[in-house]
């Protein structure tokens, strides 16, 4: 039995070797307790963290983010009223409106960075986290985890939200603005994505996947 009762399960419970992804110094790292982080002895960068109830947190934030993304797609984002001239857009509405008014590139980037990639990333995370809660993995867990990591820098919901704030400041003088359910869903989505992605370390996810896979294989 290990003393490290709070450490996530690993395939090998002894000290393991890890190379810093900033300076490539390699160290033998002991298992770390919940709330702790292992730092590189050369450059001080975080090698990995052990976060509290990480798997449950990532799963819960992931499911909430999934639902919020759906509501953001269905409900109006911003409505405005200029001299009785009402107009209102939803996120997909804005994308189609851009497409038809000649902004093909912007329409595509908005669809990709704000809808398609976040949707794919959350789906990947849930596909991994939910079965891992009972110590299992579904087929293709490894390539899906690789995809999840690759997508992270390209999910720009929070940047879109800052863009929405700036647009509002531009519009406030021009018209009466109403914020719709879609707007608040995007705000919530931003927090849930941060919670889901920041809630679990990739090293922990890989360790858990590795262990679950070894269990699935016949002994």
């Amino acid at each position: 039995m290990s003393h490290h009762t709070h450490t996530w399960p690993r395939l090998e419970t002894r000290v393991h070797r890890i190379a810093c992804h900033f300076c490539d110094s390699h160290h033998l790292v002991d298992l770390i307790e919940e709330g702790q982080a292992a730092h590189c002895r050369q450059c001080g960068q975080v090698l990995y963290r052990n976060r509290k109830s990480s798997l449950a947190k990532a799963g819960a934030f992931g499911i909430t983010a999934f639902c919020l993304l759906l509501t953001a797609l269905l409900f109006p984002f911003i409505s405005m009223d200029v001299f009785g001239n009402k107009s209102s857009i939803s996120v997909p509405g804005a994308i189609t409106s851009l497409w038809t008014s000649g902004g093909t590139f912007i329409a595509v980037s908005m669809a990709v960075f704000v809808v398609i990639l976040p949707f794919t990333m959350i789906s990947c995370l849930l596909y991994l986290c939910i079965p891992l809660l009972i110590g299992r993995t579904l087929p293709f867990a490894s390539p899906i985890m690789c995809g999840f990591q690759m997508l992270q820098p390209w999910v720009m919901v929070e940047v879109f939200f800052l863009g929405a704030m700036i647009s509002l400041l531009k519009l406030v003088k021009l018209a009466e603005i109403d914020l719709g359910i879609g707007f608040w869903s995007i705000a919530g989505l931003m927090f849930c994505l941060a919670g889901a992605v920041g809630g679990i370390d990739k090293v922990e996810l890989w360790d858990r996947i590795e262990l679950a896979k070894s269990r699935r294989r016949p002994a």
Partner: protein, 207 residues
């Protein structure tokens, strides 16, 4: 500076860039995640420079061309990013003016300088504290995506303001240039391998 720790590469090991598992350098594929193993990112400097130059080329039209074309009661008006900053400034909306200026002009500009510093350090033309280089690299990766904010502002305004004869907004050429610039600089930063800077400190110790 004290002796720099031995790298995995020097010890005949290779750390997986995806899952961090350490394998023997002779191995080509990671046991755990299936990724191709390579001690340093492949052709890192070449890719960083190529994407960086492409990004600078896109940065020029991004600032010169109009980002939006506003047609109000039949009168067409082009607005550029700098023009937008000036408008907010004259409206006394200083925080907004500053945010737009930082996100769309300063961050991209500083990012090109940061990438140039990192490449120069990795090639050995420039001596900088590697800790500082780590910080620059980390910031460059973190901050790049925020420049996309201009593209999203245009997206929202164009989507929202289509009021027939009263007022319409079309995206201008700068919106495309800007989006491309952000994507290219993100790829440039992503191609860079900070290990190359640390390797420079280790070379003299090797006989």
């Amino acid at each position: 500076m004290s002796r720099v720790r031995e790298s995995a590469l020097q010890a005949g090991l290779v750390g997986c860039h995806t899952c961090l598992k350490v394998s023997a350098a002779s191995q080509h594929q990671c046991d755990r995640c299936g990724s191709h193993l390579h001690a340093r990112k492949k052709r890192s400097i070449e890719h960083t420079i190529a994407f960086g130059i492409a990004g600078i080329l896109a940065f020029i039209p991004a600032n010169l061309l109009p980002i939006m074309v506003v047609t109000q009661l039949g009168v067409e008006e082009n607005s550029t990013i700098i023009g937008g900053v000036a408008t907010f400034w004259s409206m006394h909306a200083y925080p907004v003016a500053i945010i737009i200026f930082i996100a769309s002009v300063m961050i991209p500009g500083l990012k090109f300088i940061a990438i140039a510093i990192l490449v120069a350090a990795a090639k050995g033309y420039l001596k900088i504290d590697p800790q500082q280089a780590n910080r620059i690299y980390w910031l460059t990766e973190l901050v790049g995506r925020w420049s996309m904010v201009d593209v999203f502002v245009v997206a929202i305004l164009v989507g929202l303001i289509q009021m027939g004869n009263l007022m319409t907004i079309r995206p201008g050429g700068a919106a495309v240039a800007f989006g491309l610039m952000v994507i290219l600089t993100m790829l440039s930063a992503h191609s860079f391998d900070p290990r190359l800077i640390w390797d420079r400190l280790r070379i003299p110790k090797q006989p």
